[in-house]
């Protein structure tokens, strides 16, 4: 059992494959308490899968994922659900329930898991909405929200039960610069004001570098580098360099695996 108390989540030797494609081959990741940890990497490296593994929605074939010192893949359903109440997850699409208003969406986890009177739920929802600046939008339906607003509403829902940790799945993707700025600021203030542990999965380098305390770079199923943003920035690793500077070719090849070009051109058709 991992000894350090500083880490909320500890992943050790985790292997995961879907069908024949290996997504993770022996990954070790520590997520320190109260800090913002970013998981970065090119698209298609299973970053979202990693969040689902932490949330216990899928199980790794090998290795352990400890949350509060308990191995998530080995948990019974009841225990897993109890652990999930301590996590909030912000999905890329927001994942708001489309058949209820913003207010009811944020009240949803409170109504499901607590027996609070409706008056108190109303106050809590308004407080959460105030935190994300959508108090005025509470009677709108999810379909009436812009992408950035939907993500903020989803964030309000993710913190409704006052979790210890929030998992952000690509929070910056597809946002205009203003919403992006708003989200960066929100994530940071959540972290500071509520003492939340945050895990951000992203490939937006600037924004992530600006708020992360610790960065892991994943490529082809392995952790290729980790450290503080400064350390990552100074790293000599060709993987990290390519990713951080957005070079088209490098250790991550530009070309999808194929026959040699010349051979392909000359091949009999």
């Amino acid at each position: 059992m991992p000894a350090t108390d500083d880490n909320l989540v500890e992943i050790r030797g985790m292997h995961f494959s879907r069908g024949l494609s290996k997504i993770f081959t022996g990954v070790d990741i520590d997520i320190p308490k109260g800090k913002i940890t970013a998981i970065m990497g090119p698209s298609g490296t299973g970053k979202t899968t990693l969040l689902k593994l932490i949330g216990g929605q899928i199980k790794p074939q090998q290795g352990t994922i400890h949350f509060h010192g308990e191995n998530i893949p080995a948990m019974r359903t009841r225990k897993l659900y109890a652990a999930r109440k301590k996590m909030g997850m912000l999905f890329q699409s927001g994942a708001l329930l489309t058949d209820m208003s913003v207010f009811d969406n944020i009240a949803f986890p409170l109504r499901e898991h607590t027996r609070l009177p409706e008056v108190m739920i109303r106050d809590l929802v308004i407080m959460k909405l105030q935190a994300v600046g959508l108090r005025g939008a509470r009677y709108l339906m999810p379909s009436e929200l812009s992408g950035g607003m939907a993500r903020r509403a989803a964030l309000a829902r993710a913190i409704a039960l006052d979790p210890e940790m929030i998992l952000y799945d690509e929070p910056f993707t597809g946002q205009d610069p203003i919403s992006m700025g708003v989200l960066v600021q929100l994530i940071r203030s959540m972290n500071e004001a509520l003492g939340l542990t945050s895990v951000i999965v992203s490939h937006d380098i600037q924004e992530t570098m600006a708020i992360a305390d610790k960065i892991y770079i994943i490529s082809q199923g392995e952790v290729v580098g980790h450290g503080s943003p400064e350390e990552i920035d100074k790293s000599d690793s060709p993987w990290i360099k390519q990713f951080m500077h957005g070079e088209a070719d490098g250790p991550v090849p530009f070309h999808y695996p194929a026959l040699p070009y010349k051979e392909d051109l000359l091949a009999e058709y």
Partner: protein, 258 residues
């Protein structure tokens, strides 16, 4: 040669694996019924989208089917001078067969496909995943109320179909073709047995309610979460429901006539 056996074997394995998943999901959803006891509102909401919204098409179809039975039945019976038995023909056809079966087919097209599409889209937009991460079981929260509403709705819809159909047959037979009104009802009442015909019809529609809603819910829940996957799942719901309803109808009829 071996390829052929391998193919047969693979299909068989796939079929049973699929059936096993369906049964497991059904059991989970039925266990989830317990969570609905303190929250009947969830079922009421689904009764609305599954039952109330199917009511109009069922009533209109039942009326037309009854009128057609009246016309066809009259033309056949009048050759034997037995047009007084029109009520029997109309009522027995409706209560025993057409009521439960046609209702189930219409239901699969109207409500089943909508259920599949709704659940499939919830999956595609990560809403089901979101529920799971909020520590809410999507099976008992989303599937169970829909399944229960479907099981409650189907016998009610089938009863409406048959009742309206009997009046449709009356309208054509008695008002248009001149069958004696008293004979229409009295022959019907003499020949239609409560236990053997009405109760068996209700049992059938109850069974159809279970299988069609079960198929709809399973297809939505297990679909590939893309727009194409959802559209395919919706088609499968209608096709499988129709096949299973007709096959099950034969089985149940054979058992009941025994």
């Amino acid at each position: 040669m071996f390829d052929w056996f391998a193919k047969v074997g693979k299909n068989a394995i796939d079929f049973f694996a699929r059936f096993g998943r369906e049964v497991l999901l059904f059991i989970q959803a039925v266990i989830g019924f317990a969570t609905l006891i303190p929250r009947p509102g969830l079922v009421v909401q689904q009764l609305f989208s599954v039952g109330v919204r199917s009511m109009l098409i069922i009533i209109v179809s039942g009326f037309f089917v009854g009128m057609v039975l009246g016309l066809q039945g009259y033309n056949t019976l009048v050759d034997f001078g037995a047009e007084e038995s029109l009520g029997v023909v109309v009522a027995l056809s409706l209560v025993r067969e057409l009521g439960p079966v046609v209702t189930a087919l219409l239901y699969a097209g109207r409500a089943g496909s909508a259920l599949t599409a709704e659940i499939g889209l919830m999956k595609a937009t990560e809403q089901l995943s979101g529920l799971e991460m909020m520590a809410v079981n999507p099976v008992s929260r989303i599937l169970s109320p829909r399944l229960l509403a479907g099981i409650i709705s189907m016998p009610l819809l089938a009863a409406m179909f048959s009742a309206v159909g009997v009046f449709g047959g009356y309208l054509v037979g008695v008002d248009m073709l001149g069958v004696d009104s008293g004979a229409y009802w009295s022959q019907m009442q003499a020949k239609v047995d409560f236990n053997d015909d009405i109760v068996n019809g209700v049992i059938k529609s109850f069974a159809f309610g279970i299988v069609t809603t079960w198929i709809a819910v399973y297809e939505g829940y297990s679909c590939i979460p893309t727009s194409e996957g959802v559209s395919r799942a919706t088609t499968r719901t209608v096709v499988y429901s129709a096949l299973v309803v007709l096959g099950l109808d034969f089985l149940l009829t054979a058992l009941m006539l025994d």
